[in-house]
């Protein structure tokens, strides 16, 4: 009987140890490095906030942060818009719904590296989209966003939306299927038009789905790394850098561990800023149930 009581604890023991070390311990370890003057090798004498001061004086970090705001807001906004519209259209008793859903969602199964590779080819300034439109007769058309440092961040948006909007569609579709039909029928009896019913009743009732979708997409945006590496490599120059590529570059190719650690702490902070209010509201709604 005693062993029986211990078994559950024995089963969880490896996970417990691993969680304490590889999640909490490593976060503290990274935090520690961020307070030192580590360069090529980690050093452990605390030097205060010197890396954070340097980080915020770094032009490239500001570009990366600004890019995250641009990429994040466009990526989230466009994905939600496309996802919601596709879900509403698909919810009108469409005959080939299953096939369409499969098509809308397949990019989500691809690696961001594959997505980046394909879009890099499509957006290729000499042989890609530009040539296609030129050969159609619009010879003055130019499309050089991939090599234009003003526009390169928007290519990440294009590829990111292509990959993730189908997933948002699936989230909204699941939400729409959960909406109570009787309310809609009642509104129809009252003579309300379909767009009005969607605008006034259905879309507001999808509030939790909006919430989840925004949280997931923001999370993807902050972590975006592979897509940038494959599509633009952060370039031209560092014009399309995001915090994730900044961190990799400083920590692993330029031998600036302290700065890399400080930038990863900032990314962690950004994720917490999104997750904590979400978890809080989730817990509160559970208690109210």
């Amino acid at each position: 009987m005693r062993l029986e009581n211990l078994l559950p604890k024995i089963v969880l023991a490896p996970t417990f140890v691993s969680t304490i070390i590889t999640i909490y311990g490593f976060i503290l370890w990274t935090a520690w490095i961020s307070f030192t003057k580590s360069r090529m090798l980690p050093r452990y004498e605390l030097e205060g906030l010197v890396q954070y001061v340097k980080l915020f004086a770094n032009e490239r970090w500001w570009v990366a942060s600004k890019n995250l705001v641009i990429f994040g807001s466009l990526f989230i906004g466009i994905c939600i818009l496309i996802g919601l519209l596709l879900a509403i259209f698909l919810d009108q008793k469409i005959r080939i719904e299953g096939t369409l859903r499969t098509v809308f969602l397949y990019p989500m199964a691809l690696s961001f590296i594959v997505t980046g590779t394909v879009w890099k080819w499509i957006l290729n300034p000499s042989l890609g989209l530009e040539k296609l439109v030129n050969d159609m007769g619009f010879t003055s058309f130019t499309f050089d966003w991939l090599v234009n440092s003003e526009m390169s961040i928007y290519t990440i948006v294009i590829a990111g939306v292509w990959q993730s909007s189908g997933f948002v569609m699936a989230l909204f579709l699941a939400g729409l299927r959960g909406v109570d039909d009787s309310i809609i029928k009642a509104a129809m009896v009252d003579g309300a038009s379909l767009p009005r019913i969607y605008w006034k009743i259905i879309i507001p009732s999808l509030r939790p789905v909006f919430f989840s979708a925004i949280m997931i997409l923001a999370h993807i945006a902050i972590k975006s790394f592979d897509l940038v590496v494959a599509l633009t490599g952060g370039g031209p120059g560092y014009s399309s850098d995001l915090p994730a590529t900044f961190m990799y570059s400083f920590a692993f190719t330029r031998g600036r561990l302290g700065m890399g650690a400080a930038s990863s702490m900032m990314m962690f902070g950004a994720v917490l800023a999104i997750i904590v209010p979400y978890l809080y509201s989730e817990l509160r709604s559970k208690k109210n149930e």
Partner: protein
């Protein structure tokens, strides 16, 4: 379960137009999602001359599998020119044990967290969930140090270990959320009959677990196969996974750029997860929503 605009047997002209409009928009959207795949396929079977003279969506003038052969067996990645095949098998060797172990550990954890709660187990579960949210950049530096100390730096074993460790948070979440829906009374009754920890798992829990095993295996397979960050940080040279090799192939600028080879290599790298998606799309979606919504 879906809804429609309350049309009876006699459809008005407006209704027909409305539905035609919806179908048109949906088809346009489908084309938008499919075009990159079509471009990828077309480009991969074209000759370089065809690529330079044609356009992205022009039909291949002569069909050739040379680019596929090169991508698989002879394209230059880094200093070696053996194509992507070695890296493809690296990914297979990485995915199988990583998925297996993370799923089994997740199943055992989920069983305890749902059916054998003890003082502190809820707290541990909440603590573990942070692993689903952290940007992995925050653990890269310490993990690289630790792998160096235990002699697994830049090795396949080290990479597999990292994937198992950071997969457990997700797999545990899947299994725990699935197992809480199994009535506790079943477990109680079995306990009264004298069944123990393992017997209850084996006889009651495991037989109903097939769907969640499928969800977990599919989720982990796509996540680990598609991973780039861990691959690029924790492996090097010949032990790199296919995503890293693909990126190296595409983004090293030596000699003439062969777009057809790039596209063939991208399709090879995408192939396993696409198959998983086509065969088990339903479970793939369940993993996506369970893995990302239920925080």
């Amino acid at each position: 379960m879906s809804r429609r605009s309350g049309l009876g047997p006699g459809k008005s002209q407006g209704e027909i137009l409305f539905r035609a409009g919806i179908y048109t928009l949906l088809i346009v959207a489908a084309i938008y999602y499919l075009i990159p795949l079509i471009i990828m396929i077309f480009t991969s079977v074209k000759t370089m001359n065809d690529i330079r003279t044609g356009t992205l969506i022009s039909f291949p003038r002569e069909f050739t599998l040379d680019a596929w052969k090169a991508a698989w067996g002879s394209a230059c990645i880094g200093v070696t020119c053996n194509g992507i095949k070695g890296y493809f098998w690296n990914s297979v060797i990485m995915v199988v044990p990583a998925v297996l172990f993370s799923t089994l550990i997740g199943a055992a954890n989920g069983y305890v967290f749902s059916k054998w709660k003890f003082w502190g187990s809820e707290v541990l579960f909440s603590m573990l969930l942070l692993g689903c949210f952290i940007p992995f950049q925050i653990i890269l530096l310490p993990m690289a140090q630790v792998l160096g100390v235990i002699g697994l730096a830049q090795s396949m074993q080290g990479l597999i270990l990292v994937h198992i460790i950071y997969g457990i948070a997700f797999t545990t979440l899947f299994f725990r959320n699935f197992y809480v829906t199994i009535p506790q009374e079943l477990v109680h009754a079995a306990k009264i009959d004298g069944a123990g920890f393992f017997r209850i798992f084996w006889k009651i829990i495991l037989p109903v677990s097939v769907p969640i095993f499928v969800v977990s295996i599919i989720w982990q397979t796509t996540q680990i196969w598609n991973d780039f960050l861990f691959g690029v940080v924790f492996s090097s040279g010949e032990s790199q996974p296919v995503t890293v090799a693909l990126n190296n192939l595409v983004n090293t600028s030596t000699g003439v750029k062969k777009y057809n080879v790039d596209m063939a290599a991208a399709m090879i790298a995408a192939f396993p997860t696409m198959i998983v998606y086509i065969v088990a799309g339903k479970y793939f979606l369940r993993g996506l929503t369970a893995g990302s919504v239920k925080g």
